[in-house]
Symmetry: D2
Subunit: 262 residues, 4 copies
């Protein structure tokens, strides 16, 4: 039975690329995303065309029991989850307080913080019993500082970060590697950045900063670091790491959050 | 009409003492707490016996519309809220992940993060229109680092901190002073520390560390700093400040969270 | 014998104003600055015209034994140093690495870090023996993050901050209150900002942002917070606090260091 | 001509292992250490026995021009420095302020901060002209927080960290990858930890925590992460990363600095 790499939030950006990378290294990738069955099938096909193995499931992470039941079904039907990637964004764009509804604020928390708590509650007992596992958590600039218009996003991502620290404090000595990965910039991802900007602005941004200047984070390169983290020897584990394009400034030197999306 | 100092979370610790301090300086203190009408009445009486002015209301901060309606009623019936103190704790003691229910995690967020969002959504438009106001937010060690057993508390308090940063980014230039106050140690407060430890252990702790050695934070001394923050000239505002007993180490030098409660 | 408030770095900005504030509260202010006897005499006169008491000394803080001998002489001739303010800046403006000489980098450390170490080595034994004292350290944005052109300044101020944390870890329980004060913006100070910008740009900046908009930190308002810190009860001491104008963004939301000078 | 990986501080711990790892990947490793010609020769031999290429030089990093001349000689005689590892520790053990001499404090800065400044001043112009290079900087818990007895070490390492941030702000867009690597725990290194503890305590510590429990960071495993950082695609560079044993708590959850040495 192949070890499983579960990806919650597997679009065409970080999530899909990380799944493909782990599949290439011998994991069975289980890709979960909220919608777009066609896009999901395409990701699975790409991995299978590589000669590797994957499954795809639509999963609404804010629905009750969705994560819990998926974890149980994977463990029963596919194999032990060795690596779980939590890659759900909670960015809703810049919104003044007056335009941030209670509902939006709560949804930010459900996707940004609570979903990870539910995933951890589901997989940590299994991993701890096996004495082995990794939970790699995609995070964002907003986990490190609040900013204008980021009321919902920053609160949710900061909760995510401190939850990761608390999980690490309880579970690292039990063999579970928790890593909090601060993606500090815009990712070249059509499902998130593309949708946020719209096709025309996305095309312009890619032309201005894309392949040539590497101004965007390329998700297939990000995936290399995720894989490295999962392979670190337990005598030298990383809890926190940041990632950004060489041509960008880190968050402590720039003022505007371009949209830190996976 | 006196300016109002609204305290959400007015027990016999930080909240009550801060209310009394502001009342002594000419504010009308509006004290709100979840339960214990008798204790609330006692706090109001103490302030009135000082020759100052206060009101008290029972308020369950997790109930829908409770904060919103209280803010509206104060503005209509008593006067403009110049200072709002958000002093609700969200500590539930140290609990392993397996013992942290979804409900407890959500309640932590409702008290630790969402309640402040609701308060800010209610008072910021009023303060911004008047070009003046202060929101002083009690916070805890757990806002700065996660720790074993702090899954719920740390996620909630970190959300609180980053929400404060986001509020500050939008509202400081509009004249609203947001301050995030990191109370990094155990407060000598019968309603919180006393209840958490039980009467006997609380008595022992006070004897061991109390008045003589100042090992606990004394809430009436904390109140001096809250008042100073509210009086800072707008050319030199503080966003973040920490407070601890001289005989304690700061969080970055100690391992255990004794319980950072107000 | 009056308690002494010693100010290292007493220009017309933070240092002079803090000295005057403490003198008003009953301290004898000892003002030390590197040059400008006339300016120093003027500061002493202003305090004496208030009806309070001060002395002034020229002191080059990078000269061997200058700080050590001044401390010894004050303790012998004037009185016990209860409060020591370390207010030396180490800003040399924005300089690319190629334009930052070894000498400039070393001078930054001598003023930014080593001078405080020498002051602490001189006064901590005296204060610890008396079980009482305060060292208030002016710091800057550069203590919190490096930035382009800040090679010397950021290294020096970060050393200052961590030295403060180490001093606090050893001496707070012995009754010495160490506070690290992050002045996160431009101070309305003719001796530093005025000289850096030149008279014309300084005049323009003050007109654009000065009294009317409080865009600059006013040093006499900063002094209020220094005094508050020195008076905090030992059960509720602050180690770190930030200060900025209401109309500025904090360092984590702005990109450029305008020059954080005292 | 092979690309060069220069290691300043190449003992039998992190430095030697990182050099060996890069040599295995096709770099010529230039190993520099202060003393012990025999140990240095042994490191070079081990690499050559792997079938790879290395040189060794004794270099006292606090001596004037030592780093500068070595860089110039390497570029003239061996090849372009593509990767520079700054791995000098500045730990002097826990010393109370009274036992920390001015000389020790200055030496800490010379090794901890100024040496890196000199290395960067030497290699950055070369790397920037080539549009390519990496400077990987070993750092320690003390860069993140001061602690009792760490006056010299914490000031020096904090200066190192902020210098790294300033270098990154100026040079990342010019193609130089700066990484600040926080080694947060005790490394299984005979030259540093072994010497600090003495042979008997070192043997005991290794037996208690060593190979079996991985309680020490194993330097050959640390080297994997150094190599990964140097190979990251420029669209997804890491500036800061932490490393610790799975069985240790991170610095924000532990109180004592065991000695973070390379």
């Amino acid at each position: 039975m192949e070890p499983v790499c579960l990806v919650i939030g597997a679009g065409a950006g970080i999530g899909g690329n990380v799944g493909r990378r782990f599949a290439r290294e011998g994991y069975h990738a289980v890709l979960c995303r909220r919608s777009d069955q066609e896009g999901l099938d395409r990701l699975v096909s790409v991995i299978e065309e590589d000669g590797n193995s994957a499954s795809g499931f639509l999963l609404n992470a804010v629905t009750e029991n969705s994560i819990e039941e998926r974890v149980a079904a994977i463990e029963a039907d596919i194999g032990p989850i060795e690596v779980a990637i939590y890659n759900l964004g909670a960015q809703i764009g810049n919104r003044a307080l007056a335009n941030t509804s209670y509902k939006a604020f709560e949804l930010g928390w459900r996707m940004g913080t609570f979903g990870l708590f539910r995933l951890a509650s589901s997989v940590c007992p299994l991993m701890a019993e096996r004495g082995k596992g990794a939970i790699l958590v995609t995070s964002a600039t907003a986990a490190m500082r609040g900013n204008a218009g980021q009321h919902s996003h920053a609160a949710a991502m900061a909760g995510r970060r401190m939850l990761c620290q608390s999980l690490n404090a309880e579970f690292s000595a039990k063999g579970i590697h928790i890593a909090h990965i601060v993606v500090d910039g815009a990712v070249d991802a059509p499902d998130t950045l593309g949708k946020m900007l719209g096709p025309e602005r996305y095309r312009q941004l890619r032309e201005a900063r894309g392949m040539e200047h590497d101004g965007l984070l390329l998700p297939e390169k990000i995936a290399d670091t995720y894989y490295h983290l999962a392979q670190q020897h337990r005598s030298a584990w990383t809890f926190e790491i940041d990632l950004r394009s060489f041509s960008d400034q880190p968050w402590w030197n720039h003022a505007i959050d371009l949209g830190d999306l996976g």
